[in-house]
Structure formats: C-alpha cells, structure tokens
Symmetry: C2
Subunit: 481 residues, 2 copies
C-alpha cells in the first residue's frame, strides 16, 4: 500500500500549539474514515518537511498518537493507522479497506494507477493517448454551442440507443469506410471503453476464452477478466494477427476474438487486407464472434487503411467499436457500437441498467459537428499535423536513441512502440522517469509476458516537449544502465 | 420472445415484383444476423398490413421462403426464422441469441423493457421520472454555452474523479444540506445509476446481503443482483425503514444497507429525523455500511426534508449518492458520490476501467450553472411548479378515482404511489393502457411480492395531459374490472 497522501499544514498563527494541531489533524483524518486501518503513514522526515516543523515537535505529536493507540509504530516498517486498539472510536467504523479488497472488479495495475494519477499534473506526458489540446477545433465547437444556445429547449434522457440524429450521422460517416449500416444497428456509448464493458457483461458466458493480439490494449484493463473470462494472446507478424497460431477452441467452449486491426494499440501494426479476409473466414469457420476495436480508424497518415472487418462481414459476426476520442475530443465521451439487431437490443437493455445513456449534451454537440461540412477539412488537417508530429518524434529518437532502441515507423495512430536494449530495466526506468515528471507506458502492461518495449505517445505533447522528455529519459538511461 | 419489429415496405414503383422484394428483404434481414434463428415473425395479417400488399402476394413470398428453408411455419404457433436448415448460409453465423442468453448481466423485466421502448414515442408518460421539458431553464444553459464557446480551448479527459471546479461546486451545494465535505471526497459519475453500478462492482463481496426498503427503486434494476448479492426487503412505516424488523446479518457475513430516506422511490415516504439517527446508530452497532440514495433531495415542496444521513455520519460509514437528473436535467448524466477517501479512490480506479469518466462537456456546463447566482432562483421556481403539479394531479385523482384508489399526499419528489382496489388486475391494466398509449409503472416491479399499487408520475407531463391519461385509465378500469 502506498503511504497516505498529506497536503495539510499546521497554522502557526494560531494559539493552539502546533503539535496539538497535528494530533487533532490525525484524529480527524482517522475518525472520518479517510485514513483506513492499516494505512501507511509517511516517514518522519517527509512529515516534518510537509508540516514545516522540526523533528522534535513532530515526535511529540506522534508519541501522543501512539500513546492513545491511534497509530502503531513498528521498527523497520514505519507507522500505520491502528487496527482495533482505539476501540471507543473505531469500533463503529465500517472497515472499508476490507470492502475495497472484497469487491469483485480488479484494481488497475500499479503502473496504470500511477499514470492515471500523474496525468493531470504538470508532467511531460509521453503516455497520453489523447489528441493534443492545441488541435482542438474551437470554431467547430463554438458553432455547435451557439446552435444549442439558440435551439435547445430541454435536456432529458434520449432514446435508449442514443439520439437518432447522431446515429444517422455515424451511419453516414461509417459508409465512407465501407460499412453500410443504419441507425437501428448502432448503439451510442460513453466512449468505446464502456462498449467493451457492456459487451463483456452482456454477451460473454462465464469462462469464455477471448483471443486477442499479443500485445494488446485490453491486457492493460480488467474489463474482460472481471467478467470471469480468460484472455489468450495470439502472436502478430507485420500483417497483423497470426490467427493460425491460435489453439482452436474446444468443442462447446465459448470463444470470442478481440482485435484492433487498424493501428493496433500499442504496436501500431495494421492488419493487411488479405489477412482481414483470412481472419474473418477463420472466425466464420469456427463460429467465433469478432469484436473489432476501431478506435484509431480515422487517424491515418498518408493512406487510408484497409476496410474494417465489419465492412467485409456479411453474416453479422463482427461487433464494431468506434470512438470520437482519438480524432476529435475524448472529453465528449462518445463511442458507437455497430452490430446485428439482437446484439444492439441486448446491449441497449443492459446499458439502460448501467448508466441510463450517454450525455445528451455531448450527443447533440457531436451530431452537429459531424453534420458540419467543415468537419472533413478539420479531419484532414488533424491527420496532417499528427503525421508531422510522428515524423518529428522519430527524428528526435534517431538523434538520441539510435544506440539502444529500435522501432517501426507507424502509418497512423498516436504511438511509437520502441524496443530498448536488454540492459535497460524498464520498470526501474519508469520509476526514475516519474520521479523526474516524465511519463511513458511500460510495454509489459499490454503483454502476456515481460518484454523490453515502451509505448511513447507523440500525439499529446508538442514536439518541443516530446524532445525535452526524451532528453530526460536519455540522461536516465545513460546514468543508470 | 416478441415478434420481430418490421418497418420496411416494398417499393411498388420498381420493376422487381413485389413478392420478390419481400423474399429479398427477408433474406437480407436473416443473412445479416438482424433476425436471429428462432425469432418470431409477425402474423400474415400484420405483415400484409405493414407491406401494403394483399394476402395472396404475401403468401407467394412466404411459401418461397419456407421452400428454401429460411423460415419455418408451425401450425398453431406461427412462423419463425429457421434453425440450421438453410445450412449454406447459416452455418457461418454466430448464434447471437445464444450469447445474449449466456451473458452474465440480467435483462430488464418485460414491463421495464416495454416502458423504455415506449417512452420515446408519442404516448402519455405517467411513468417518466424526469422533470418536464417546459421546466428547462434555457437562459441558464444559454449563458453556460456562451461562456464555453468563448473560453473552451480543449476537451480532453478530466481528472479521474471529475473536474475539480465541479467537485468544489458540489461540495458548496452539499454544505447547504448539512454535508460538510471537500472535493477530495467526491467522485463525479454518469448519473447516480452509474454510481450504484460502480459500488456494486467495486465494494460488494460475493453473496453480500443488501438490506433495503420494500418497495424500492433498486428492486426494478439488476445492478445489485448482477454482482451476485441478495436484496432483502425491510418493511416501512410512515417514518421510513422499520430497521428493527430486519434480521441482523449473521456473524462474518457481509451486509450493506441501501436506503432512499428522502422521498423514497416509489412510495414518497420521508424518513423522519429521529428514525435517521436510529438507523445510523443501528448500522454503526452492526458495522453495516449505508448507501444513501439522495436523488430527490432537492425536490421538496413546502419544507426542506430532514438532513441527509451523511450529514449526521461522523465515522464515514455512509456513502452518499446525489444527482442533477431530478432537479435540473437528466440529459447531462451527472451524479456524485460522497464517501471516505479509500472508497472514493477505489471507485475512481474502477470507474477509469469502466468508461474513463463522465462527459467533460456536461461537467463544465454544470459547474458553470451551479456557480450561477440565478441557480437558486431557478430551483425555488422549479419546486413551486412541481408542488402545484402534485396538487393538481391529486385533485384530478380525487375527481375520477375516489371510488377505487387511495394514496398519501407526497411532500416532494415526482410520484403518486396509488393503491387500486383489489378487483383491478394491474398487469392487465398495464397492457390495456400501453395499447392506448398511456404508460404507468406497475408497483410490483419495485416490490418483493405482488402488490396492488401503481406509480404515477406528475412531473413529466403537463397537468392537461395528466388528466387525459387518467381519463383513459378510468375508462379502462370501468370497462374491464
């Protein structure tokens, strides 16, 4: 368990002695339940620095807290919030730590918790899978807001599957990549992550096997595992998933395939047109449903990727997940699922029990923007900028890292998937880098076994900040490995 | 299974014979997977009417479809989409119906599915738990949109727990009802339904018992049951939950209490101040965490309800759920959870794996509106209008229903909880009413046993439409029972 995070300070202008302000603060934090039993208290050195007091004042306070039984001090392992000693207070407390552990959904991995927590602070974010804030199309949004301000007459729940006008716009948008569908076959979700969550709750039988590229984005989540299913990694070559290497599912056992054929996250690999046909045929032969995650569909550089599997799917075996997060604005939290009617109906029903639909406001704004003829112009410009950033990032990596790193040039997406020399301990590098306010994603959070990769995002930070981050990482690598 | 919903029609201006257009349409619907194996096809009479063709044309088409094995006709039980007969096509199909049944989350009850599906059509909605569209404060929203249009520079993911400015506004808002908390103890969710979902995934041990008022809103959902927990209904008197009637949890078994103390949904009962103290003390004695659902907190009529349990909670045992859906706009999809830090951290972590946060747009707009000094004026007016509608609805009920219905006057909230005379079959009345485009909620969807109640919402429809709905129901009751 991490030590408690403390940002309180005593007020030295008060009459109340500082040591007593400290004991009062500890009592309040523990009594309110914010500091659960067993929580680790920071070291004396850190506490003294945080409180701006000398060690002797601090020790006076801590001694008193130990004496009344609120905290326990164990030589060697430091101080913790006491268990049942201070019974008059704590006996009435629900032991939340126990509930937190007993809950059925798995916690994020330590690295991801750290990344989530740091990503909002002032750090260099080579981890972030988001468009750069300066690519935000203000004018498009301003037009949509103006329209809403003048025309919106209520903001109630929408149709269960999402606002019809938005589903129609998405159907139109999908036709451009070869998916011919209608509003009836589309469900709007709060981003495509929610769609995965819904599918796993609604359609996965217990103990189903989910075949997926190794490495893969979903390995970094617990959305599938929490539905009591098993992920099975399938190797990739440069054409995409090497489907012939997967162990065919046992008769009568449930198997599902999850794939990111276009700009696979994290590797950037694009499944070739031929491989798409083969994977589809294989899955049809074995009656394996396919979940196609197309989050990066629209962020290609020089040439449009092959058509989605869903465009080739004539039997309704493919469930397709799209999202506006990577090509416009993640803060809208809008994604879409395309599937046969029985699947859409089932997902819609569970969705209505889960959060009662996505923000109507986000849906209205997005429907307006997708209908705007300027949207295509924006998209073309967005892709061009991203492509330049990808190139610039690689020039920088060549300048600093050619001695110990290799990668393939991406054709789209947000990431460089970089293999570092074996001597570099990636977990250690991650810890050193976060201490210097640089974040990247260790490759092993995506993989089924340890690996020597890291994922670097070139999309979020400016090229200048990207270079600054790489310079810091370079120093760390040279000094430590 | 319901019969398939068909809204296609043949195009009589085409050269292709109409019967062939019909067989083509059936083939496409079945081949695409939209019509799953075993799905029930509407009767010949309904099909002929929908297609606008005479029976003999329709029969020509159906005969051909039966001949090629696409549909099966069974005397007495009608036509269904064939199983494996048409092997050349269907062998490659994933059997989605099987996945839909195997998924782990329970489907909504038939009545709720029907209500969800109908609520968007042109029906009289005495079922809808939403503010009336004409109470929508356009000016407040317009100001917020104008501000965003001028100031928004990006729309990315927010802090994992939600936008800080919004959490601060909510903390300020909560202080008015006696809950003194800080942004750190607040998690923003996509409505309070998502909060319940998160809590059940994150904190409920398997086989936990959830004590709750009977009847209760959560009985109509599967959000708790899907976490493998058991709901146990506790009777109410006019002061709220009769906690002394609950069987104390067995030693070492996990028990949790879920309560809607203020304007209980569906009954409207308000837990008295004294009962709140008692329930809190009981739960503390037995170390039972309390989930306090305060969705209707702000929609009181003449006098503010007693302080929330959370305001009286000194040990962090209560998790409090608030929402903007009932007092401003459900389409924002914003709710908030107040709890101790370890609980908030845990929920935030799971939430980041579930949908990566609520719409930033909704959060920004709501933060702006809550900070607007006009918000309080709007709220006072909103409550006044609602209170008048409640009164008017009761005048109407007295006029038409005094012979066979009783209810208690609500002090707040959206609903009348009406007991109908024993001779009235409520399920039958529900079916008759939906056929006449009037929706209400049968009381048994909220209860642990059949009952003679219905829930009528007076919030959504105008008083004129409310009366129109009651008139239709009155005729149905007089004619049929």
């Amino acid at each position: 368990m991490n030590a408690l995070h403390i940002d309180w300070q005593p007020d030295k202008t008060l009459a109340l002695p500082v040591y007593q302000q400290i004991t009062d603060y500890f009592q309040r934090a523990i009594a309110s339940g914010d500091w659960p039993m067993g929580a680790k208290i920071p070291s004396q050195r850190k506490l003294a620095a945080q409180f701006g007091v000398n060690r002797s004042t601090l020790i006076t306070a801590l001694d008193e807290l130990v004496a009344v039984g609120l905290i326990t001090s164990t030589p060697g392992s430091g101080m913790t919030v006491s268990g049942n000693h201070w019974s008059s207070l704590l006996a009435e407390h629900v032991n939340w730590a126990q509930y937190v552990q007993a809950g059925q959904f798995k916690p994020n991995s330590h690295a991801i918790q750290k990344i989530n927590q740091f990503e909002t602070d002032d750090v260099i974010r080579l981890s972030t899978g988001e468009p750069a804030p300066d690519q935000f199309p203000r004018a498009l949004f301003q037009k949509a807001f103006d329209h809403l301000g003048q025309n919106l007459t209520s903001l109630n729940y929408t149709e269960p599957a999402g606002i019809l006008a938005l589903r129609q716009q998405i159907a139109r948008h999908l036709a451009k990549v070869g998916i011919h569908t209608s509003a009836d076959n589309i469900l709007i979700t709060s981003g495509s992550l929610q769609a995965l969550q819904l599918v796993s709750m609604s359609l996965f039988p217990k103990d189903a096997t989910i075949y997926t590229e190794a490495p893969t984005y979903v390995k970094s989540l617990h959305v599938f595992q929490s539905a009591h299913t098993h992920l099975a990694g399938v190797p990739m070559d440069n054409q995409g998933m090497a489907y012939w290497q997967l162990t065919p599912p046992a008769k009568d056992s449930h198997a599902i395939m999850y794939t990111i054929p276009t700009f696979n996250n994290p590797t950037g690999i694009v499944m070739s047109a031929e491989r798409r046909q083969q994977v589809l045929a294989y899955a049809q032969d074995h009656r394996i449903p396919i979940l196609e995650d197309a989050a990066y569909q629209d962020v290609w550089f020089d040439q449009q990727p092959p058509q989605p599997l869903k465009a080739l799917d004539e039997t309704g075996n493919v469930i397709y997940f799209g999202s506006i997060s990577k090509s416009l604005a993640p803060g809208l939290r809008i994604g879409w699922t395309v599937a046969t009617k029985p699947v859409i109906d089932r997902l819609t029903d569970v969705r209505m029990q889960t959060d009662y639909g996505a923000s109507s406001l986000s849906q209205l704004v997005l429907a307006k923007i997708l209908a705007d003829p300027e949207y295509d112009t924006y998209q073309a410009h967005f892709r061009e900028v991203l492509s330049h950033k990808a190139e610039a990032a690689q020039v920088i990596l060549h300048r600093y890292w050619d001695d110990f790193a290799t990668w393939d040039a991406p054709q789209g997406g947000f990431y460089l998937w970089v293999r570092l020399a074996d001597r570099i301990n990636i977990q250690k590098l991650f810890d050193l880098a976060t201490a210097q306010n640089v974040l990247f994603n260790p490759g092993s959070i995506y993989d089924f076994q340890p690996n020597q990769y890291i994922r670097l995002s070139f999309s979020y930070e400016s090229t200048e900040r990207f270079e600054q981050g790489i310079r810091i990482l370079t120093s760390l690598i040279k000094e430590n490995f």
